[in-house]
Every structure is written in structure tokens, then in C-alpha cells.
Amino acid sequence: MFRAEDDPGPSFAALMARAGVQPPVPSPVAGGHGLDITHGTTVVAVRYADGVVMAGDRRATSGNLISHRDMEKVYAADRHSGVAIAGAAGPAMEMVRLFQLQLEHYEKVEGQALSLEGKANQLSVMIRGNLPMAMQGLVVVPLFAGYDLRRGLGRLFQYDVTGGRYEETNYAATGSGSLFAATVVKMGYRPELSANDAIDLVLSALFQAADEDSATGGPDPIRGIYPIVATISAAGFDRQTTESISARFASLLGRMSTESGGWATVTS
């Protein structure tokens, strides 16, 4: 138990500092740019009628090599929010772990979850804390999305390396293939999309990103590896099953090859 004046309150970061447990982040080293750090690539989030859909491809690369085929980049942050990561994989996964724990710790200590706004700000602080590492090339730029129970709507947030937080109204994408993914989403976006249409749209966006960007992985039916897709609504964070995503991909690819011989973009 802490004395009142140095009680860390509901903050897990402050607790770690008091307890002398430092988050295991490697210290910055000069000239780190030459290292082939494992990188995660394209993630995308789209608002739909009941909330937000988040999706991410599965590829992680080190330089020009594929280091993992089945990396997960979309995580539940808590019951009603999710975080998707792009950038240096090691620090990004550690950031997610700490972020999830911070939200849960707050909820348990305070007896009530943080507001969605509070969660988004919390992530902003963590990204800003990573800035010295980002300057060394270990950039982490996540997307954060969730269902705001107080306002009754899905919201999504994009970040820059300095911790800048940008709320987007309709969609957001980050990572190496994000330009392509965001363009596809932009072309196919309609207000009040249904959940199914929104999932088809993000799958199409990731497919096109993988088609143009070598660091983004496409669907891999041989090994059964497909993008991770989750819906976040009033009912909570719901990760879609591999079976449903593979079926959607099959019909998406079927439409693409019959309608245009595979050359035109079918968005939804």
C-alpha cells in the first residue's frame, strides 16, 4: 500500500514507475537505421451503421524478406474498443500489451471503464513516449477505434509518430499499403454501411493494397491465412471467424474475375 502522497492512482504506467518495473523497451542506439527491423504493414478501419470495422493484413517484413505470414495486427483493447498496429512490430506489440493492461487496470481500480475519449488520449501519450525510439527508426503508428457507449456511436482515431491524435469521421488507414487501402475505402464508402458491406469493403481494400504494395500480405488460401477483421459495436469487440472471412474472399475474388477479368476494382 502506498502513502496518499505517492499513490499512483489508476495509472499502470505510474504504478510501474513506483514499483521500479520499467517497460522493457530497448534503449535508443545511434545508427539503428541499418538494422532490418520487423515491420507490420497495412491496417484499416471503417465506420458503419452500428459501429466500426477494423482489419489488418497478416504480413510482417524485415527489409525485403517476409518475416511472418500470420502476424496479428488487430487486437481488442478492451470490451468496446480495438487497436490496430503498423510500424516496428516489437515495440508495437509491446505498446498494445501495455495499452490493454492500462485500460483493464484503470477499470478495475476505478470500478468503471475509461471513456472512449480517455482511451484514445491514453494511447496518444504512449505513442508520444515512443518518440525517441521513432527518431531511431522504430516508428509505431496505430489506429484506435471503439464504440462510444456514452454517445452511442462508433468512433475512430488515427495517430502520427509524435502522438498527434486525429479523429476521423468515416475511415482511416495506416501502414505501408495504406494509400491504396484508403483509396479503395474512399471509393466504396457510403454512410450507414451494413456490417457485411463494411467487411467486404475492408477486405477489398486490403486485397488491393496487397496487390500494389509488396509489404502487404494478400489472402493465403493454401495455408488458410486471411486478414483479421473485427467489428466493434454496442455488443462489443467481435472478431470474425477465419471461415467467414475465407468465404467472403472467395466470393469477392469470384466477382472480380467474372465481372472484369480481374483488372478492375470491385469494391463491395
Binding site: 500500500m1 499502470f12 478495475k108
Partner: protein
């Protein structure tokens, strides 16, 4: 130079224990029962915002009787202990037994070294995959740990509550049976308790990662009125 009065250590410990017991006896009791679906924790608590029963970690729950601010401090210390341990090692390494020992240390330390002992009794419960492996630790104000197997009652009225639970006990209790038994045991022969007077939570045996779930007043009332299927909504 004035000499401090000599007080025999036996007398000092006895005085502190009496003081702590008196404080605890003023509050209301609670009970925890191992049942088919998990561990039911049922506390008599007129407040609907100041909780006596709480979540510590994935499979670990906490409950306290006595002085609210004191057991709430212990609850937060437990959350910190568990979250730090889970972060430093792995989520699987967080166990009720080690937490109970940490609490025993804190309580024992305060009991022997501070002027005023804590006027609390606490429960640390961990649900397992099989009911025979569930763990219930009952901690007293002086750091004594009692390891219980089937049920436990805490508070000033604990002995008579425990007797009433024993009288109605069966090894096949479902969660709804357990809730009705706990409620009647807490109420005693002369009172009736309703959902409003109770705070109920369950550590669900086959739940998701976080097993702790609160029952709403309406859910408790439905069970007390005779509903046999446990509430299913998945909210904490």
C-alpha cells in the same frame, strides 16, 4: 525522564484483536459458495455504488467486510499486485495463493506494528476448471489465512451464517441454488433480503478470459423469485 507505561505483549495483542473484531462486527456479512457454474460471492450491501465484491484478475475475485476504506485499499493493492505480476511474467502466473500470502503479510505487518489494526476480513477466491480445484482464502485482521474448500462466511455474523449454509449445503449446488442459499443464510430466520440489499458476483468457471461478472438487482430478484437458469448477459 518519564517512563512509558508497560503493557504486556499478550494484553496489547488481545486489545488490538478485540478492537478489530468489534469494528468488523458492526458491518454486515458476506458469503462465498463453490457451485457448478463457478464461485458465487454474495454480500449484504445496501449501497449500489460502494462495492464490497470486486474483480482482481482473470480468475480471481475479492470481497471484504468491515471498514470500507480499509478493505478498498487492500482491493486496490491486490489489483496492483496481480497486474504487475501478470505484466512481468505471464497472465497464467497470477495466482490466488500468492496474492493471499501477500495480503497476509500486509495485514500481519499492520496488526503488529501499527497503533490501529485494520478492521477488516477479506476473501480471495480463484475459480478453476473443476470445482474441486477452486480456491477460497479467508484472511483475518491479523494476517491469519484460512483455506476453505466449499464455502466461507465473513463478517461479525459469520458463524451463524456458516451454520445456515452448512444446513442447506449440497455438493450439487447450481449457481441459482447457491444464490438462494446464500441469501437465506445471510438473512437468517427473521428477515427477508431482496436484490436491493445484496451485491452479487460470480467467478464463472467456463467464462471468457475475465471470469468475474456482477449480477444486476433485477437478475438477483429473478433468481430469488424462483428462476432456475442463471442470467446470461455478458457484462461486468
Amino acid at each position: 525522564m518519564s517512563m512509558p507505561f508497560y503493557v504486556a505483549p499478550e494484553q496489547m495483542m488481545k486489545d488490538k484483536a478485540d478492537y478489530a473484531r468489534k469494528g468488523i462486527a458492526r458491518g454486515r456479512s458476506l458469503a462465498a459458495l463453490v457451485c457448478e457454474e463457478g464461485i458465487l460471492i454474495c454480500a449484504e450491501n445496501p449501497s449500489n455504488t460502494l462495492h464490497k465484491v470486486a474483480e482482481i484478475y482473470d480468475r480471481i475475485g475479492f470481497a471484504g467486510v468491515g471498514r470500507f476504506n480499509e478493505f478498498d485499499q487492500l482491493r486496490i493493492a491486490g489489483v496492483r499486485h496481480a497486474d504487475l505480476k501478470g505484466f512481468s511474467y505471464s497472465r497464467e502466473d497470477v495466482e490466488a495463493r500468492s496474492l493471499a500470502n501477500a495480503y497476509a503479510q500486509m495485514l500481519g505487518q499492520i496488526f503488529t506494528h501499527e497503533m490501529k489494526p485494520l478492521e477488516v476480513e477479506i476473501l480471495v477466491a480463484e475459480v478453476a476448471m473443476a470445482r474441486t480445484e477452486d480456491q477460497l482464502y479467508h484472511l483475518l485482521y491479523d494476517g491469519t489465512v484460512v483455506d476453505e474448500r466449499r464455502y466461507v462466511a465473513l463478517g461479525g455474523d459469520a458463524d451463524s451464517v456458516a451454520e445456515r449454509i452448512e444446513a442447506g449445503w449440497s455438493d450439487e449446488l447450481t449457481v441459482t441454488d447457491a444464490l438462494r442459499l446464500a441469501t437465506s443464510a445471510l438473512a437468517g430466520p427473521d428477515r427477508t433480503l431482496t436484490g436491493d440489499d445484496l451485491e452479487v458476483a460470480v467467478l464463472e468457471r467456463d467464462g471468457a478470459r475475465r471470469c468475474f461478472r456482477r449480477y444486476t438487482y433485477a437478475e438477483v430478484d429473478a433468481v430469488l423469485a424462483g428462476a432456475t437458469s442463471p442470467p446470461t448477459a455478458n457484462e461486468v
